[in-house]
């Protein structure tokens, strides 16, 4: 159960005789207050900073843990530039490797998924090297990572491109020496609406029953055996209508505002201390 730190517990006004609801929450958010705080805050915060969100398991949300992790994450972000990237962007990661001559190892690939919250946040890059598909999992806050660059900032139709493993290799091939394409500040993030063609079945997962929008026409390609199996398969597309199940896993506006104000405060303190001028809370889609 989410319990904020002691100083942040706010007593709500009790309403006479109604079902007593006093869930503890991070910050008071009357409509007036949020308007003041909105200045300088990013509406697309969950997409740009998925590591700063709370655990999708409600019972594992712990304010103290999140607070401690957040401090460490912000410290790390002050030391190294962790750029904005999405699933579908092409990212280059330079990590240290003691066994190589240059002590560095650079990998370029398309980000296919971003998982976990807090310091555990991971992202996977996929590329095809010598006709073999390679996926490398990186911890975002791994201290041995020297540099993360976004070579091409863009989004795809899905937030999880795991299907590229069964797609034709051309969709996963990216040049290692690709030149970084700068994203003009203030413009919205481009969405690459390409539909990926899959290889012949069998596939690693049942892409024909999944609702990924980035796959081109899975049904005709699926074999009759799988098509016959479909009527026995549970296709759970009603899950998106379960508003409260989604509420339990997702983030709230109050929480985002709280985290962002913390980040702003941290930034301000560090800038005032004069060590760095690195900006943590920024969005490529909004004007500076």
């Amino acid at each position: 159960m989410f319990r904020p730190a002691a100083r942040e517990v706010v007593k709500l006004p009790t309403r006479y005789f109604s079902c007593k609801s006093e869930p503890t929450r991070a910050v008071t958010a009357t409509k007036k207050a949020s308007r003041e705080e909105i200045a300088g805050l990013i509406p697309a915060f969950p997409e740009i900073y998925p590591d700063f969100l709370q655990s999708p398991v409600w019972n594992r949300r712990n304010a103290l843990k999140e607070e401690l992790e957040r401090q460490d994450m912000l410290e790390r972000r002050m030391n190294i530039d962790i750029p904005e990237f999405y699933v579908g962007s092409i990212v280059a990661v330079t990590s240290s490797d003691k066994n190589l001559g240059s002590k560095e190892h650079r990998f370029v690939g398309i980000c296919i998924r971003r998982e976990k919250e807090g310091l555990l946040h991971q992202f996977t890059l996929r590329n095809t090297i010598e006709n073999i598909g390679v996926e490398v999992l990186y911890d975002l806050y791994n201290p041995t990572i020297k540099k993360i660059e976004t070579l091409k900032l863009e989004k795809r139709l899905d937030s999880d491109l795991s299907y590229l493993v069964d797609a034709l290799p051309e969709y996963s091939t990216f040049d290692f020496h690709m030149e970084p394409q700068a994203h003009p500040a203030g413009t919205p993030i481009p969405v690459n609406e390409c539909k990926v063609k899959l290889k012949n079945p069998p596939w690693t997962r049942r892409w024909e029953i999944s609702s990924y929008r980035g796959i081109d026409d899975t049904w005709t390609q699926a074999t009759p055996w799988y098509k016959r199996k479909l009527h026995k398969t549970l296709v759970n597309d009603y899950e998106k209508y379960d508003l409260i199940a989604n509420y339990r896993t997702s983030s709230t506006k109050e929480q985002e505002v709280f985290v962002q104000t913390q980040m702003q405060k941290f930034e301000k303190e560090r800038h005032a201390a004069g060590l760095t001028r690195r900006r943590i809370l920024k969005s490529a889609a909004s004007y500076k």
Binding site: M1, L12, R15, Y16, F17, S18, C19, K20, S21, P23, R25, A29, T30, K31, P43, A44, F45, P46, P50, W58, N59, R114, D158, S159, D160, S211, Y212, R213, N236, Y238, E239, K240, Y241, D242, L243, I244, A245, N246, Y247, R248, S250, S251, T252, K253, E254, Q255, E256
Partner: protein, 194 residues
């Protein structure tokens, strides 16, 4: 992460929500997640139509956040948002209720925070289930009233009135005061005697 792109996050739902969804009895159909959602959908539809419903307590507790979320979607995102329209269409299968939601209910809460509903407890009801070999079987149900605030019905609980001049209040206040005084005196007397 879901495959759906959502706009700016919605505010907190200001209502107690359990961390585990209840398994509701689904009357005839095999209980499943889909069946549970169907039960909740019917409750939500009835609540939006009648604005005050009486139902089993656990169901009222379960359905309340769904009603809140639906209203919140309408308030925050408006009727033209794609996600809101999809949710309203599914949760309110009677289409005139979607219009009602956007034109009647949502405008009430434009400047208000959650919670938009109230939940009250009624005394438990004993209802006869069936008769088995001339033996009547009864069951007790906890009943709750779920209502959307601002409905046109008279308030369930009368507004708290400071009626200190009514007969009962005057007599009772006097009685309690004197009772306290006598207790005090008795206490003093007993301490003195010791």
């Amino acid at each position: 992460m879901s495959a759906h792109r959502v706009a700016a996050s919605l505010p907190r739902i200001g209502v107690t929500i359990g961390h585990t969804p209840q398994k509701l009895k689904t009357g005839g159909i095999e209980p499943s997640r889909r069946a549970r959602l169907e039960v909740l959908r019917r409750i939500v539809t009835r609540t939006v139509r009648e604005e005050r419903v009486e139902l089993k307590w656990n169901r009222a507790v379960e359905a309340r956040p769904y009603v809140e979320r639906l209203i919140q979607l309408g308030v925050e995102r408006g009727p033209l948002d794609e996600y809101t329209a999809e949710m309203m269409e599914w949760w309110l299968p009677e289409k005139d209720l979607i219009t009602k939601m956007h034109e009647v209910i949502v405008p009430r809460f434009q400047n208000r925070d959650s919670p938009f509903t109230s939940l009250f407890r009624l005394p438990p009801q004993r209802l006869q289930q069936f008769i088995q070999n001339k033996r009547e079987v009864w069951k007790r149900y906890d009943i709750g009233v779920l209502e959307i605030d601002g409905n046109p019905f008279p308030a369930i609980q009368a507004a708290h009135q400071e009626q200190s001049d009514s007969i009962l209040d005057v007599l009772l206040a006097d009685a309690l005061r004197n009772h306290q005084i006598t207790l005090q005196e008795k206490l003093e007397a007993s301490t003195e005697s010791k």
